[in-house]
């Protein structure tokens, strides 16, 4: 791409941002062509975290794939388990017990809250506000504790299985979860009191990194990034999977599509997820948490695509089965990959500090980009 090396007389010069840069949230490398402080061109280079998850899945049985897929999108591991399990269940026509569906929804929504808390913390950290980061991580710890007492791990749960979930919830899960749901709405008020109308925060985010509706749709953006641009599209409502059609929730959307809107959409989504968890806890039925499966699980020959609404947009999984115990091909789709593509489209004309804010608001995590 560099046809001419910038000479000392040239005004434009190139800067490498990353891969080891704290604001790239992982190992993204951005090649920035700069004119003074303004960005002329931004080119993302990905692949620093490539682990060939799709290929390794071909050598593993379906049960063994699930712990690996925890590493696919490790901030919302429950979602990356769910999408693979959903595709497998549709492929093999496995019935899932009612209680397992509810437990999955509770875990998925808790994980969405945890993911948005990470976003909120790191986003404000990138903008220079340290306090919300500490508060957000404190609340996230409580969710991690709930996950740990249920699944046994804090990050790589291996909890959602083909035909249900691995374990039933322990006895003290329900009171703790209810307590969290009740206190959490006031916690969001605290975050908003610190950030939403803060003048420094507004100056850094309002009208920065505007993604118009056209660009968002054309670049296959999804999730909060798409909704912040004003498109009301949520797979939980528009292509319901699991039992999401039983819950009442709003789909928050933005108007302008700037960084502040993306922040606001995620904060509102946390409130909605909190409400979904509350409804699910109220409706949680008794019964089995897992269907009896055969000792050797072999789905029929065929292929299937499943998609879910993750905290970072549409997450998809396409499985091709050749009838053996191992998938023939697994293709994963993550929202972050499409959102990384947005950077060359919206970065020109921006300042570097604004790019940091915009990139943080896209909430890209690199393991999902590179897979």
């Amino acid at each position: 791409m560099n046809e001419a090396t910038p000479s000392q007389y040239s005004e434009e010069f190139e800067v490498n941002m990353g891969p080891q840069h704290p604001s790239t949230h992982g190992v993204l490398r951005l090649m920035l062509r700069m004119n003074g402080e303004n960005i002329v061109r931004a080119t993302p280079y990905i692949g620093y975290l490539h682990r060939a998850i799709e290929k390794i899945c071909e050598n593993r049985t379906y049960a063994q794939c699930i712990p690996l897929l925890d590493r696919f999108e490790y901030v919302t591991s429950m979602a990356s388990e769910e999408v693979f399990v959903l595709a497998t269940e549709r492929l093999a026509a496995v019935e899932v017990p009612e209680r397992a569906e509810y437990l999955r929804v509770i875990m998925l929504e808790f994980n969405r809250i945890a993911s948005h808390l990470i976003f909120l913390g790191t986003f404000s950290l990138d903008l220079g506000a340290i306090t919300p980061f500490l508060y957000c991580l404190r609340e996230r710890e409580q969710i991690m504790d709930l996950f740990e007492m249920t699944s046994g791990q804090r990050l790589t749960y291996n909890y959602i299985r083909v035909g249900g979930v691995a374990y039933d919830i322990p006895e003290d899960f329900l009171p703790l979860a209810r307590k969290f749901v009740d206190t959490f709405q006031h916690r969001i008020d605290d975050y908003e009191a610190i950030l939403t109308q803060n003048p420094i925060f507004l100056a850094r985010t309002k009208n920065v990194g505007i993604i118009s509706k056209d660009i968002a749709v054309n670049y296959a953006a999804s999730g909060p990034v798409l909704r912040a641009s004003g498109v009301k599209w949520d797979l939980r409502r528009d292509d319901p999977y699991s039992i999401y059609d039983r819950f009442k929730f709003d789909i928050p959307t933005g108007t302008v599509g700037d960084t502040w809107d993306r922040y606001m959409v995620r904060v509102q989504e946390m409130r909605q997820s909190n409400e979904i968890v509350r409804q699910a806890l109220d409706q949680l039925p008794q019964g089995d948490y897992k269907t009896k499966m055969k000792a050797v699980f072999k789905p029929p020959v065929g292929e299937c695509y499943a998609r879910i609404e993750n905290a970072r947009g549409e997450m998809g999984c396409h499985i091709i089965s050749d009838g053996s115990t191992k998938p023939y091909r697994v293709k994963l789709r993550g929202g972050s990959f499409c959102h990384t593509q947005l950077i060359p489209a919206i970065a020109p004309g921006m300042m570097i500090a604004d790019l940091v804010a915009t990139f943080a608001s896209l909430d890209v995590i690199l393991p999902e980009v590179d897979r």
Binding site: N59, A63, Q64, E148, G152, Y167, N207, M293, V296, G349
Partner: protein, 202 residues
């Protein structure tokens, strides 16, 4: 270029003070910091930490029957088992080692085991300066598991009494997807063994 956002100074100062009020309130709330080396979390019962081998409570022998189901269930091939046929046609364990450097603590070995032989315990402090010392052999694994309390839930061991399993207990769940026992070689096959090519067009 989008227009810069215009600030209203009065509401700006007001909202700054609102934010500072929140931090002030938190300043006098209870600290959640845990002073780690002197204080410790109480880990949940299901917490998956270091892998141990369990022994029979009465005889003190290993529960392991060398069926290598755990080695087959392991997604990363961290478990290595060597065994031979004894005089009574039963498998005898020669060596059992777990490579903690590649173990991913998924717990599939524990679910595949039918004899309460292998378990992931809430112990988590086993870091080491030396990678080689993280490969635990059978004696180390057995020593780690001696003080681990467990409810015997063995499904196939005839001599042991089968206790009624409490619902939702981690140890009772058997992985339904676990590969069934096949005619087994003397050395546990590693899951990363080269697979046959799957054809063209990938």
């Amino acid at each position: 270029m989008p227009t810069a956002y215009k600030l209203n100074p009065i509401s700006g100062i007001k909202n700054l003070l609102i934010g500072l009020w929140v931090t002030l309130r938190h300043l006098f709330s209870k600290s959640i910091t845990l002073q780690y080396p002197t204080e410790r979390w109480e880990m949940p019962e299901r917490s998956r930490g270091v892998v141990v081998l369990l022994s029979d409570k009465e005889t003190g022998d290993l529960n392991c029957t060398a069926c290598i189901l755990c080695a087959k269930a392991c997604p990363v091939g961290a478990i290595r088992i060597e065994r031979h046929r004894g005089d009574d046609k039963r498998w005898k364990l020669d060596s059992f080692s777990i490579d903690n450097t590649i173990c991913c603590y998924c717990g599939l070995c524990q679910e595949a085991c039918n004899f309460d032989a292998i378990k992931l315990t809430p112990k988590y402090e086993f870091s080491s300066y030396d990678k080689a010392s993280l490969i635990y052999d059978v004696n180390r694994l057995q020593d780690l598991g001696r003080d681990v309390d467990y409810v015997p839930t063995a499904k196939k061991a005839a001599p042991k009494p089968v206790a009624a399993a409490p619902a939702g207990d981690a140890a009772t769940a058997v992985a339904p997807q676990a590969p069934a026992a096949e005619p087994t070689p003397t050395v546990a096959p590693m899951p990363e063994k080269p697979v046959e090519p799957k054809g063209e067009g990938e």
